[in-house]
Subunit: 202 residues, 2 copies
DNA sequence: ATATATACGGAACGATGTTCCGTTTAGAAA
DNA sequence: TTTCTAAACGGAACATCGTTCCGTATATAT
C-alpha cells in the first residue's frame, strides 16, 4: 500500500531504494510463482540481489509484498464484475465472476492458504482482498438473488469460497470448482434447510 | 495407531514407557484444549513431565498424538450415523450428522486446520479422519439423495465441509454452520448449475 | 545381584522469521 | 568538486521451533 504513483509525496524514495523496491516486487513475483507465497524471505532477497534487511525495510510484512505483486490482478478481477453483470443474466454473471476469482487464486501457489493465515505477517492480506472483492460479489449476489435477501452475506460467501480454495493448485481446479459450484447451488433455493436447533441426542 | 489393547503383542512397553505414554496423552489433551493442536512440542513434554525426546519416541509424528487424543470422539461421531439414519428422515439425518461433525471439530482449537496441513507431521491425520468419517457420510448421502447419484462424492463433500471448518472456533460456530448449510442446500437440487465452459472474455 | 535391552532427558542441529547495527552511499550543500 | 549527513544497505545476531542423537539411567529377566 505504499508503492505506485500516489497522492501525498511523504518523502520520495532515494534512487537505490526505489530500485530495490522494484527489483523486490519483480523477484517476488517470480519466486512466488515457483515456490509459493510462503517462500523463505532469503529466497526473495537472493533473487533480487539484496540483503534480507532490505526486504523487511521495504516490505515490513509479507503481505505487503504479496499485495504489491498481485494488486493489479485483484483489481482486474474486481472490475470484471461490472462487465459480467452487463453481459450475462444475473445468476450466470455471478457464476462467471466466481470462476474469475478461482482462476486468480488457484494459479498462485499458496495464495489461497495465505488468505486464511492468521500469522501477523499476513494480517492485512485478507483485508485487502475483501476490500476489493466483497463489494463486487455483493452486487452480483444482490442482482442474482433479488429482494429475497441472501441467507448469507457477500462477506460470508466470499469467505466460504476462499476457504474452499485454500489447498487448491491448478491441478485440482476441477475439484475446487465442483465444491464451489455446490455452494453456489445452495444459493438457488431459499435457505432454512436445517430446522433442528436442539442438539443431537445419540 | 499403536496404543490401546491390540491383536499382536509385538513387545509390550516397559512400565515407565507405558506411564509416559499415558501421561503424554493426558497432557496433550489438556494442552491441545488450551493452546491448540499446533502447540510447541516442548509444552506437551513439560506438561507431562518428560523430555521432548520421549514425546518423539512414543509419538513420532504429531498426528499420532492428535489421533490418540481424539480417536474416541471421532469414532463416536462415526457411530452416530447409524442412530441418526434410523431415527430421522434421510436428509435430516445427514444434516444432523454433519452438525455432529462440526461440534467435534469446532471445539478443538486448530484441529480443523491441522486436517488441512500438508506438513509431514500431520500426514496421517486426514487419512485417519477420512477412514472413519467418509463411509458414514457416504451412506447418509446415498440415503438422502437416492439413486440420483450425487454431483459430488462423499469424499469430496467431506473435504469441503472440513475446509469450511478450518478457521472455526467455538466462537464462530454459527458462521461455520451457515456456510456448511449452504453447501448442504446445494445438494438438494440437481447440479449442473454452471453451464459455461469457455473462459471469461472481459 | 547382575546384565542388558529399553527408555530417558535434553543438548545439539537445522531451518526460518525478524531485528539490529556498523558500514556504505545518494544527493544536497558549500 | 568536495564535503557532509540522512537514508539505505547487508548480513550477522537473536529467537523460535521441529527433530535427531547420544550419554546416562533403569526396568526387568536371569
Amino acid at each position: 500500500m505504499d508503492d505506485e504513483a500516489h497522492l501525498e509525496p511523504a518523502a520520495p524514495l532515494r534512487a537505490d531504494a526505489r530500485r530495490n523496491h522494484d527489483a523486490l516486487v519483480a523477484a517476488a513475483a517470480e519466486v512466488f510463482a515457483d515456490l509459493g507465497v510462503d517462500v523463505p524471505t532469503k529466497a526473495i532477497a537472493d533473487k533480487a540481489g539484496v540483503g534480507v534487511g532490505t526486504v523487511y525495510r521495504r516490505f515490513p510484512k509479507r503481505s505487503d509484498l504479496v499485495v504489491a505483486v498481485f494488486r493489479h490482478e485483484v483489481e482486474r478481477c474486481a472490475a470484471a464484475a461490472q462487465d459480467l453483470a452487463a453481459r450475462y443474466p444475473p445468476f450466470e454473471a455471478l457464476a462467471r465472476w466466481i470462476d474469475c476469482f478461482l482462476d486468480l487464486v488457484v494459479t498462485k501457489r499458496g495464495l489461497a492458504a495465505a488468505l486464511q493465515s492468521e500469522a501477523p505477517a499476513y494480517a492485512d492480506l485478507r483485508g485487502f482482498f475483501e476490500d476489493r472483492l466483497v463489494p463486487p460479489l455483493q452486487g452480483l449476489m444482490a442482482a442474482a438473488l433479488g429482494e429475497r435477501s441472501a441467507d448469507i452475506s457477500g462477506q460470508e460467501m466470499w469467505r466460504a469460497i476462499a476457504l474452499l480454495c485454500a489447498p487448491a493448485t491448478s491441478d485440482d481446479f476441477a475439484r475446487t470448482r465442483r465444491m464451489v459450484a455446490l455452494l453456489i447451488n445452495g444459493l438457488r433455493v431459499d435457505g432454512a434447510d436445517s430446522p433442528r436447533t436442539e442438539s443431537i441426542d445419540s
